[in-house]
């Protein structure tokens, strides 16, 4: 069984590799994405960043986060996956020493939702 599954799995991977479109990680659920946007707004992330779909404020001190889901790296150093992005959003300096972005008090759920929202920005 395991062996069969393994074969089927590798077949799928081969098939997927033939697909010219890039493999995108799946989107988080819509509820999480919506809560993430609301949390980013409530915490004032816009004080430093231009945020997709949020009119004000449009801070310039940090990079724009439009299209963040297309980026390969977080802050140019870390792979852009959901757990790492969530950790970075809450406490940037501990992951990227020397970052100008301070640790912002938020709970794990908020960090996860904000990361999910950012990764859903793919245009």
């Amino acid at each position: 069984m395991i062996w069969k599954g393994g074969v089927a799995g590798s077949m799928l991977m081969i098939l997927a590799a033939c697909d010219p479109a890039p493999i995108e990680p799946p989107l988080a659920d819509a509820g999480s994405i919506a809560r993430g946007k609301a949390a980013a707004q409530r915490l004032g992330c816009g004080a430093c960043h231009e945020l997709p779909g949020i009119d004000w404020p449009k801070g310039r001190i940090g990079p724009s986060l439009a299209g963040f889901g297309n980026r390969a790296l977080i802050a140019g150093t870390l792979p852009n996956d959901l757990p790492r992005l969530a950790a970075f959003v809450a406490d940037a300096p501990s992951l990227v020493p020397g970052s100008g972005m301070p640790a912002v008090p938020m709970d794990a759920g908020e960090a996860h939702d904000i990361a999910a929202w950012l990764q859903s920005q793919r245009d």
Binding site: L43, G44, A47, P57, G100, M101, V104
Partner: protein, 322 residues
Amino acid sequence: MILRPGSSLSVTSAGSGWPPAVFDPAGPYSEPVTTLAWALLLGGTAVFALVLAALGVALFGSAALKARLGGEKAIWIGGFAFPAVVLTGLLIWGLMLTSSLSATRVTGAEMRVKIIGEMWWWRVHYQDAEGRETLRDANELHIPVGKPVLLELETADVIHSFWVPRLGGKMDMIPGRTNRLLIQADKPGVYKGQCAEYCGGPHALMGFIVVAHTAEDFARWKASRVPARGEQGRGLELFLSSGCAACHTIRGTPATGLAGPDLTHVGSRQTLGAGILPNNPGTMAGWIADAQAIKPANRMPAYHQLSAEELLAVSEYLVRRK
């Protein structure tokens, strides 16, 4: 809702958000305003409906109806008696209803505070019963519930208007004058305000916060208004060497500038930038580095010359000014 001094409720979770709630009075000086506003709104709607009905008759009514509508009697009643009676009644009732709002004299039972409008933020000077200044702060007013608060409203520059809709009426701040206004909150909570007279540039970003405490909480808040003394360190050094102290006061340090808000307790404020941003380490850093991107044309320069490490040291120092 439990409100401890220094608890950092964000602006939206404070249940007020923007724009500040109107038609939702939370104290005896806001209630008459709301009653009057509803009466005007509903009365105005009824009169509008009457006028439309008359117009309908004039356009589509039978000849007999039209004749009566255009007759001398209808004009005497509808054009003279009705407005005279309604408007006179409204004037007398309105004046009676709102007479408690204008604070014509100090009775001694009120808490007293002077608030000075600035382009585009607010100075808050707490006073004792005799009107002597006891404490300076900015952009946020703390009051006990159930007690009238007598505000002396002044301006340092142009006309502003002080307005916290759930707690009282709206009062202009006029150059060269001191206007008085009474407010009161009946329940603990955070009440949002907004400058209500266009004062140039970022006027729309000139907000205000009133935090109402229970008596015990208010006493605790008052006792906590002593500046931290004797603190040294990189954050304070940078604050002094970067020029911040030329515009800002932090009591207990050599920083005595007066052009900007007092920052002695800035870390305990609910908001930054005069009621517009939540207050946390992120917004603090963002405001200091580039307040111009957030609140265009405000009078604090952007600080692009600070390195990331310096920026975080200064903002971390200010976040701790509880």
